[in-house]
């Protein structure tokens, strides 16, 4: 089954290690501005949400790209930009519903998460595990178990009465 970069905002502590390490890995400099992942914050309420490309199954970026520069990596299933083809029209930036495509102010081309070719650096650094690179079905199983626990508690109590 295909792996995905899963986000759990409830676990995010807002430290921005994901942004920092993403930019050092991909840009060789510390420039959160050019990071593929960004933590959006509501600072006065203590809410932090990492936002990154969801590698959609029906990618809008690919649909709107006039140059067919958005391609899917066959190994990782990540949507990657072919810089040879990209003309920097930024239609993908406008249409991405997650705001997860950015513009590199130096090259004027677009940048987005490519899952670090199957080993996302941000995940390695995320101590609270708000970011995980997991099998999509595993994620589903975990959530199902967590939800089922409530029922199992009730069931156990009911059974204990007999």
């Amino acid at each position: 089954m295909q792996k995905m970069l899963a986000i759990d905002p409830e676990k995010c502590t807002g430290c921005r290690l994901c942004e920092i390490t993403c930019s050092i890995h991909n840009e060789k400099t510390c420039t959160p501005e050019r990071s593929r992942i960004r933590v959006t914050k509501w600072e006065n309420e203590g809410i932090y949400i990492p936002m990154v490309c969801q590698q959609c199954d029906v990618p809008i970026c690919e649909t709107v790209c006039p140059m067919h520069a958005v391609k899917r990596d066959t190994e990782t299933q990540a949507l990657v930009i072919d810089n040879e083809l990209c003309v920097g029209c930024r239609l993908c930036v406008q249409f991405c519903p997650f705001g997860s495509i950015g513009v590199d102010d130096r090259t004027k081309k677009v940048i987005k998460c490519n899952l670090c070719n199957g080993e996302p650096v941000c995940v390695k650094f995320c101590e609270p595990a708000a970011l995980q690179y997991v099998d999509a079905n595993t994620l589903n199983t975990r959530k199902r178990r967590a939800a089922a626990e409530k029922f199992s508690d009730i069931l156990k109590k009911t059974l204990a009465r007999f």
Binding site: T13, K28, C30, E43, N44, G46, D105, F125, E127
Partner: protein
């Protein structure tokens, strides 16, 4: 390049701005952050000026490693002559400001003069603007940051701000960023207020370049693994610094009712586990894998709804044990209030606890306190007095000037009850059973303070050879002992001077854990990030240089051996309760004095605490002021 950071000189009186690169020699001598700030303080400040005059210099410095992805690299150092003590003013804060400053291209700001009207500084990619701030004056610390973000239409603007306490020149006003990260100690917010400077905002997109980015990234991952694998960090990730309370209160190492008892009886509600009733999770500073502060919400009660962050162990003492308030909720409310008004949590609690004891002793009465019933555990009085201090109203106006001015004003033997050194309140820790800590707060260059050395490693029952290897000489494993403790203090002072100068978090070096990154790891990080080869021995020497220049500053301001002392009660009143290791303990005056001799000797200072000529020469301090920048 990480070494291409600039320093900006900003004169608020003349509105003159200039900038230059930080000279390479300054990096090898002082690294950055606190080191460079201390050098500048010694070099740029005329002796004996009034700390509230335009001549005082406010220094803001990012650390040499500020911005790297490990060990809490978001620390920012703020310095000036302290309006609270008249000695070194220096305070260090986390959050996200320092890296953002580095992204603008600046590492250091040197602010002099006084603006005619309220202003704020906006530092944006190489450009610095002095902007009008009348719309911010009077606003609390949180509102001020929100308004600046809105004005700039940019949620990524990071600001250092003062609250009403700083505006009102409360001598222990803090500087805050985010919801709780604050430079609390020594009244740096008061200096900002005296300059009519409401905020310093930064926003940058300049890349921070490293000498060896890929190796640095890998090594930073190892560093994070190294720190998060320690038991201390695991506990801190879950409970924050509050975890310390469980041990110290049980043992009897916490001053209660100012200094009457060394344990809060029935203090169960302050146990860190109880934060779970209010917490929605923890929060981390820039680049930190430990995330030690809680995000809490108060949903019920007269102060609800309220969102705050923290509280630190410090606040459990400041608004709990010292004033004999036994409810977690009181801590959360008071913690929120001091952050909102911009007050140092520790100084505020220390002064209020002192006032409560004076009230009990009859030295203060309702007439002097304007009817405020300063009884132990009176939380309403606590809240009111916090507000009165911030606004300089009623009796709060007396406390707002700190111990140095309040003691002569109140008189009547009140000095005896003040738990302070060099005019600054001590933490709520009770150092009578721990001579190492006692020496640390007495010698701290910024007044009673645990964060200059915090020599805690003898508290964990470690074998003698482990301590000897760490400290490079014999240290008694018994924490009641006086043997070898000066060595601990001396070693930790240098380590923390370096930690503050490279801009990493003290919790992520030898704070509570021997197995934490220190000299060797720092040396490697510096090499990978900057390309500079600085050995472990050289780092220790840099730490010595920084601590010695701080000493020179204090000597120049008239401080001497007599000020490296403890409150009289440490020598006279033995502790009364707690475990046997903490009960019936007081500091032996003679042995304390002997520790001081040893401590000076280790630093290369003479018997009066004055650095010897050969020491100055060895540290290249003999020609100061040298005006390198």
């Amino acid at each position: 390049m990480v070494l291409k950071g600039k320093v900006a000189y900003i004169n608020l009186s003349t509105r003159k701005l200039s900038q230059e690169f930080v000279p390479a020699r300054m990096r090898t001598l002082y690294l950055g952050g606190r080191g460079i700030d201390m050098y500048m303080l010694y070099n740029h400040l005329k002796p004996e000026i009034d700390p509230l005059s335009p001549e005082n210099v406010l220094l803001v410095g990012a650390g040499l490693l500020g911005g790297i992805p490990c060990l809490g690299s978001g620390r920012c150092d703020i310095a000036a002559k302290s309006p609270l003590t008249g000695a070194i003013g220096d305070s260090n804060l986390g959050g996200f400001f320092a890296p953002e400053l580095r992204f603008t291209g600046f590492d250091h700001l040197v602010i002099t003069g006084k603006a005619e009207k309220p202003v704020y500084l906006l530092v944006k990619n190489d450009e610095i603007e002095i902007r009008e701030a009348s719309h911010l004056w009077g606003k609390d610390t949180f509102e001020t940051q929100t308004i600046i973000r809105k004005d700039q239409d940019d949620e990524n603007v990071k600001s250092l701000v003062i609250g009403v306490a700083g505006e009102n020149l409360v001598r222990f006003a803090n500087i805050l960023t985010g919801m709780k990260n604050s430079a609390g100690r020594t009244g740096m917010g008061c200096v900002m207020g005296s300059k009519n400077l409401k905020a310093i905002a930064a926003r940058g997109t300049t890349p921070l370049e490293f000498a060896h980015p890929d190796e640095l990234l890998e090594y930073c991952r190892q560093m994070n693994d190294m720190i998060t694998s320690t038991r201390w960090s695991k506990a801190q990730s879950r409970w924050g610094t509050m975890i310390i309370y469980s041990n110290t209160n049980t043992t009897g190492l916490i001053r209660t009712r100012n200094f009457q008892l060394n344990r809060l009886e029935e203090g169960q509600d302050l146990e860190p586990e109880n934060i779970d009733r209010y917490s929605i999770g923890t929060s981390g500073c820039y680049g930190c894998a430990v995330h030690c502060r809680h995000r809490y919400i108060l949903r019920e009660g007269p102060h609800a709804p309220l969102y705050g962050e923290g509280p630190e162990y410090t606040s459990l003492g400041a608004f709990g044990t010292m004033v004999d308030c036994k409810r977690m909720e009181t801590i959360l409310v008071a913690n929120h209030l001091v952050n909102k008004y911009g007050l140092d949590t520790l100084e505020t609690g220390g002064l209020i606890a002192w006032a409560m004891e004076l009230y009990e002793k009859g030295i203060l009465n309702d007439k002097i306190t304007n009817g405020l019933k300063l009884e132990w555990g009176n939380e309403e009085a606590l809240y009111e007095l916090i507000s009165n201090i911030a606004h300089r109203e009623g009796f709060g106006n007396t406390l707002a000037d700190g111990f140095r001015k309040a003691i002569p004003k109140i008189g009547n033997g009140s000095e005896y009850y003040a738990i302070q050194v060099k005019g600054m309140s001590n933490l709520h820790s009770d150092e009578r059973p721990t001579p190492s800590f006692a020496l640390g707060i007495a010698t701290s260059t910024r007044g009673a303070d645990h964060l200059r050395s915090r020599p805690a490693i003898d508290m964990y029952g470690l074998p003698e050879d482990v301590l000897e290897e760490l400290y490079g000489g014999p240290v008694a494993p018994d924490y009641n002992s006086y043997d070898g403790k000066p060595r601990m203090v001396w070693w930790q002072e240098r380590l923390y001077a370096v930690t503050d100068s490279i801009g990493l978090c003290k919790f992520q070096t030898v704070f509570c854990s021997v197995h934490a990154p220190k000299w060797k790891e720092f040396s490697k990080l510096i090499q990978l990030a900057t390309g500079m080869e600085i050995s472990e021995a050289q780092l220790m020497e840099i730490g010595e240089r920084i601590y010695t220049i701080e000493r020179l500053f204090n000597l120049r301001e008239g401080f001497s051996r007599k000020d490296d002392n403890l409150p009289e009660r440490y020598f006279k009143e033995p502790t009364q309760i707690g475990l046997p290791v903490a009960r019936n303990k007081k500091i032996d005056r003679e042995r304390f004095s002997k520790m001081l001799d040893e401590y000076y000797e280790l630093h290369g200072w003479d018997n009066n605490g004055i650095p010897r000529t050969d020491t100055l020469k060895k540290l290249s301090l003999h020609k100061e002021p040298s005006n390198l920048m």
